[in-house]
Symmetry: C2
Subunit: 490 residues, 2 copies
């Protein structure tokens, strides 16, 4: 029997989400915090079983999976903190002004409110942190939106078990029926984003899959915001000074980063710009050859990896430095390619296409002008990274603005893999990194599921607490243009 | 000779915008404020000539046009204030945490940065406030984005003269060449939104035109944010208590609102829900008959108005209370229709279609249940309005959440026309009110042209002032989760 969610069942789940929405939207922060805490605890309590299921389905190492389950709980707790702090509603109040130059101004009070039921598409490569109880689910529930989650087919049992834990936790902590549901199958995924009851969607996955869903979302009778996190090349630039100063640690760090999780990360560094002919290249080759092979996530990923690796190898001027290949049973060892800066500029489109798996390309550049020309060819990417020295840090006036325009996070002397779960993190970027250039990680990810509403001349009795004169939530509000946590006294 | 902008000229203008962008993006707030002040002054200084040109092209009354020019300067000054205050960049700083449960956390600092060259499509019905030097231009320039403005064909001379004033002001105040340009013609408008050099777009106009451009924007190789403000029905609900208490002032206010500017406002109240059989209906009919005819904006608007008025009159159950009709030479007097609540529910789709011009429909509802059912049928709309009494204000628990979900602004005991230019104003709403449910009026409109970027482990020398330890701009920043204007001392 197929495990795919049929149209009748999907319809039931959507109806339940629509019924739950006003209840969730009206729930105060304390209630929603309790739900998030409960889900975080439920996932943590089920960690052993979840890790066992995921190890079997994804072939990811146990240590990595244990860390990822922990990260998933930390993410849920971060959004509980966001609710506790409360200022995410961005409250703005203009008191009436009878003497404005354009005529009397009314009392206007604006805040962010939840957008409605949200569709979430889980990732293949993060069975927890970007799946059933991952960032999109956590941020949407925190915002006050019910979630219908489309499971990734690569880890169905892990998804189902996580969903049971989420549903138990929500039920046990008093969340309304319909706050969360799991659906499976491509047809259900397609129907979900097209359904008028879904008000916004989140996605983590491939450019092709994400773009197809984005197209459906924007071609609806009433188009919706589709926050897709698609593909990213994450170029890393090593300056001559940095290569001279610390080639060994850069070689270590780079190889660890591009082979982490067998390169199956959206933040994998896919390009490393190194000074042409530098000994750093040899050090990287040596380290790459030392990495043991591992098993890729699943057959579709392996097929895509093989074909994109082959495409890269065919690009004019590309040399194979390490040929890890792809063995039987999804096994792969890292591959390393190289190309000159001039050849990169000649085939930038092909070399800027993401290869999802344990391969990276060294671009040996000759001089700053060639490097700057290469950077100008970059497409949108989640991250860009600079390895430089203290002296060189003083002189990045030309480079940094170019990187900012092309990426959502600029990193100095570090590696793009490993995305800290914090208030300031931005995990987004210009297309194709994301579809709307917004973050799916960190506290501000909650804003994807919120929309602004103004209350004009509203009676005190109907104003939400965030906008009332008394300011019972002690928010920092903009009152007549000035930020203040004081209540309004009149 | 055609005044349309040809492909070669458009290409030149786009190239100039791309060159100007890094200069504008790097300009500090004081510089951009000077540009906005200069444009505001330039428009104010040219007011007499602009009003004369616009009166001829749009047939709008002189008083209205004078007020609109003044409003346009006020809008530009509001965004200068936003820059002076500075917190629109939403600065967030996480200091390093070596002891985090998920491993050491790096220094991460996030702010909003300008998105790139912006395409703006001017409106027909606001030749100043939503045209060449209007809200979209003002907010985009404030954000640090060059603007290429597609003029509306309904007022070409007004647009050209305003553009000259804008260009003079920008030149005179030191803005880089390429900061602003005017283009004309449908082909240029289509090419603009499809050009890869344009990073986002703003639009104010019809559902058909806006949706067509939205489709082009989202079907690009790299889709962009398209902020369209399209169509809105702006329903107003009069409770039985309010109708009994103050029918005369409601009749006056309603007729003034739906006939203001001959109903050619996106905030025109297109539906008024009144208690069935109430004397208020007769009072509204009387007031409507007293309104003098006027001349519509231009022939395409008149044609659209005639056809949508005819469609409304054909809806089953619709009665014509006042037939203002459409005379020769674009002259029209207000029309008033009515329908029962039951008939409204039977033909909600047709009755919820915007009729752009001086017509409104009274819906005579029988009881609260019928009213709530009608509200549930509403599509997205810029505004919803409630006229109620003090006693009834206490008991809107069922109604208000329904209105919030369907509109961007909820108004009590007022009228939707007249959108205050303030910090808290929201002029947006769910589709088709807008395409991305964001505001095009008020201080927060600047956020449409900004995107987030994080700096990870950035050397002090390359950090923008907004993110530096010293906090020279005295911003209120979120540091390790807490809002503070203190510098960081380590």
């Amino acid at each position: 029997m197929s495990s795919d969610t049929g149209p009748a069942r999907l319809d039931e789940l959507l109806t339940a989400a629509v019924s739950a929405f006003p209840v969730i939207a009206a729930a105060d922060a304390t209630e929603r915090m309790a739900w998030l805490h409960a889900v975080a605890s439920g996932v943590a309590a089920g960690a052993d079983e979840l890790v066992r299921l995921a190890a079997e389905e994804t072939h990811l190492p146990l240590g990595r999976l244990q860390g990822e389950v922990q990260r998933t709980s930390v993410q849920l707790e971060l959004f509980a903190e966001v609710l506790q702090e409360g200022n995410y509603v961005d409250a703005i109040i203009d008191l009436p002004d009878p003497s404005s130059v354009l005529g009397p101004k009314p009392d206007v009070r604006r805040m962010l409110v939840p957008i409605g039921p949200v569709g979430v598409y889980a990732a293949s490569n993060f069975p927890f942190a970007f799946s059933v109880a991952g960032n999109d689910t956590a941020s949407a529930l925190a915002a006050g939106c019910p979630v219908i989650l489309k499971a990734h087919p690569g880890h169905p049992e892990t998804s189902r078990r996580t969903a049971e834990l989420v549903l138990d936790a929500l039920r046990g902590s008093g969340a309304p029926k319909g706050s969360f549901a799991l659906v499976e199958g491509m047809d259900a995924g397609i129907a979900l984003v097209q359904d008028e009851r879904i008000a916004a969607a989140g996605f983590t996955g491939s450019v092709n899959g994400g773009r197809a869903l984005f197209n459906l979302a924007t071609q609806r009778r009433n188009p919706i915001r589709f926050f897709g996190e698609l593909g990213s090349i994450n170029p890393v630039i090593v300056t001559p000074g940095a290569a001279d100063e610390r080639s060994a640690s850069i070689a270590d760090g780079f190889v660890a980063s591009f082979t982490l999780g067998l390169g199956q990360f959206c933040t994998k560094p896919g390009l490393l710009f190194v000074p042409a002919g530098h000994r750093l290249v040899d050090e990287i080759v040596e380290r790459t050859q030392e990495v043991s092979p591992g098993k890729l996530l699943y057959d579709k990923i392996a097929g895509g990896y093989e074909s994109s690796l082959r495409d890269l190898q065919r690009v004019p001027g590309v040399r194979v430095l390490v040929d890890g290949g792809l063995g039987d049973g999804l096994f792969a060892a890292p591959s390393l390619l190289s190309v000159s800066g001039a050849h990169f500029l000649g085939s930038a489109e092909q070399l800027l296409t993401e290869c999802f798996g344990p391969t990276s390309v060294l671009v040996e550049y000759s001089g700053e002008q060639e490097l700057l020309a290469a950077v100008q060819a970059f497409h949108g990417t989640l991250t860009t990274t600079i390895h430089s020295t203290d002296m060189e840090n003083m002189d990045q006036a030309g480079l940094v603005p170019l990187l900012i325009r092309r990426s959502g996070r600029v990193i100095w002397n570090g590696w793009p893999t490993g995305v800290a779960v914090t208030w300031a993190m931005n995990h987004g970027g210009p297309y194709p990194a994301t579809t709307l250039d917004y973050t799916s990680v960190g506290a501000t990810a909650i804003h994807r599921w919120l929309r602004p509403v103004s209350f004009q001349s509203a009676p005190a009795a109907v104003l939400p607490a965030a906008l009332s004169d008394e300011n019972p939530l002690r928010l920092v509000r903009r009152v007549n243009g000035t930020l203040t946590s004081e209540p309004i006294r009149r």
